[in-house]
């Protein structure tokens, strides 16, 4: 029971801290002090207290979307092992549910953006849908490789020890998976080389343009959902790379915190050192991610997952 609470506590409380750490890292690179580490929490709390404004052209889809999206992302989180802790729900094949819950979250936000009737938001929706379907296939291919390596179709078995011997046997393939997954992660969470989460006024943005009409509690839900999504992808990346776990619960949790902060700093460094790609180069980047994972997949097929 305690373990279950720990999992849920980390899942619910930790995510906005990631955004805060990314902000701090970027501020450090720019030579500024930057907003406080807990700023995302303040933002979400502030938005929670405000009322929402709804345009008269929208209908119930627009109002339901933020809630459905947050619910889908959090349900995906319930399937994901965090800090070496077993998730509350697990069954064979839950990785497919995981990917489609995230897809559902994206889908309702896209619908809500189309529902506003603004051509600007429609453009963002079109971009998000395009990049979404290009990245989904890569995510699935990577998960297939991981499933083959750990002989399991359940996220909790893959990430809790399923990969521990694979780094010694087929390390190079896992490096391919990690690189490809990191590229997809940047696309899925609209981080800098693909999309700039800071700007609101440029024609090239993807995710932010879809949520321009949301306000108050709805915007808080969307912000929080975005943080949880980043947290989930980060957890996956970190669990792929750090397969070593001491069996002590608290030591593992502390390790996990440091790993996630390291992950946030990595994203911050990427965002500070790279310029945003031109929009038509994004599909190119997704192609490369896809080819990396295809390459890994072929090597696994030829070599066998357990040589």
């Amino acid at each position: 029971m305690n373990v279950l609470l720990l999992h849920l506590a980390i899942l619910f409380v930790f995510p906005p801290l990631l955004l805060g750490s990314i902000g701090k890292t970027k501020a450090f690179f720019a030579g500024r002090i930057g907003p406080p580490l807990l700023q995302p929490y303040y933002d979400i709390l502030k938005l929670m207290q405000k009322a929402s404004v709804y345009s008269v052209t929208t209908n119930w889809i627009f109002r339901a979307a933020p809630m459905v999206s947050l619910a889908a992302v959090v349900s995906a989180g319930i399937l994901m092992p965090v800090a070496g802790v077993k998730p509350p729900v697990q069954f064979g094949g839950d990785l497919i549910l995981f990917v489609y819950l995230l897809a559902l979250a994206r889908f309702v936000i896209v619908l809500a953006a189309l529902d506003t009737g603004s051509s600007f938001e429609g453009m963002g929706a079109s971009r998000e849908a395009t990049f979404g379907c290009l990245s989904e296939i890569t995510v699935f291919l990577n998960l297939t490789i991981l499933a083959l390596l750990s002989r399991s179709l359940s996220l909790s078995e893959i990430f809790l020890g399923g990969l521990s011997s694979s780094w010694l046997q087929v390390g190079p393939v896992l490096i391919l998976v990690v690189v490809s997954f990191f590229l997809v992660l940047l696309v899925e969470n609209s981080r800098i080389p693909i999309d700039d989460p800071e700007t609101h006024l440029e024609l090239t943005m993807i995710h932010e343009v879809m949520v321009l009409d949301h306000s108050g509690v709805d915007l808080a839900y969307i912000l929080y959902g975005k943080a949880v999504k980043l947290f989930l992808f980060g957890t996956m990346l970190v669990s792929m790379m750090m397969t070593f776990r001491t069996q002590d619960l608290w030591v593992d949790t502390i390790f996990f915190f440091f790993e996630m902060i390291g992950f946030a700093i990595l994203i911050g460094v990427v965002e500070s050192t790279m310029a945003r790609l031109r929009l038509n180069k994004v599909s190119f980047l997704l192609f490369s991610a896809f080819i990396f994972s295809i390459f890994g997949f072929i090597v696994i097929l030829v070599r066998g997952a357990h040589p």
Partner: protein, 214 residues
């Protein structure tokens, strides 16, 4: 299985993909240098159990010649013709990347059908060599600037080298050195030809050469 050798092979193929996907000549040359450098270390890992002096020598020559001297020479060539990128390739970078992915799959398929008389220390060595050769071909046919075709030729040659290190024990040192000398002269000649094309015709687009008449 030798994980380090696998890592080297996969890394060379990935760097090959980077070369194929980029159109900026400076980047292509840098990555080519890095690829050759990593490739030069392959014999050391492959024959780690029974190391002999000439294996170290071959590695060293490849690392110095291909990793450092040739990239310097190519840099000199692009400085001389003041060219920075291959702007209008016949096959776009995205398409080439996709074709390379197909090529990688194809070479794994092909390699699984072949039987070799010698013992192969890693079963992804032959496929990666084939993939590098095909990527070199793609660069050769897909690009219009002579300098990127030279880079394509060198990628192809890297693939052949990967194939040849299988026979390092059976092949005399002299042959290996002969190949390297050949290659060096070829690059030198091509560099000079590029410069002459540039001097004569004010650009070095090889497409233009087909329209030349007496």
């Amino acid at each position: 299985m030798n994980v380090w050798l696998d890592a080297i092979l996969i890394l060379t193929v990935i760097l090959g993909l980077f070369i194929v996907a980029s159109t900026r000549l400076g980047t292509m040359i840098q990555i080519l240098g890095l690829q050759s450098l990593i490739l030069g270390c392959a014999p050391l890992f492959m024959y780690a159990q029974d190391m002999e002096l000439y294996i170290v020598l071959v590695s060293l020559v490849v690392i110095v010649l291909r990793g450092f001297i040739m990239p310097q020479f190519l840099f000199w060539a692009i400085r001389h013709v003041s060219l920075r990128s291959d702007v209008s390739p016949l096959i776009g970078a995205g398409t080439t990347l996709l074709l390379s992915g197909v090529a990688i799959a194809g070479s794994f398929l092909l390699a699984s059908k072949l039987h070799f008389p010698v013992k192969i220390s890693s079963d992804i060595l032959i496929p990666s060599s084939f993939s590098l050769i095909i990527m070199g071909f793609l660069l050769l046919v897909g690009r219009t600037k002579a300098i990127s075709q030279v880079i394509g030729y060198l990628v192809l040659e890297n693939g052949i080298f990967l194939f040849a290190i299988l026979l390092l024990k059976k092949m005399p040192l002299l042959v290996e050195m002969g190949i390297l000398l050949d290659l060096f002269v070829a690059v030198l000649v091509m560099g000079i030809v590029i410069n002459h094309i540039n001097d004569e015709f004010k650009n070095m687009d090889t497409i233009q050469l087909t329209t030349l008449k007496d």
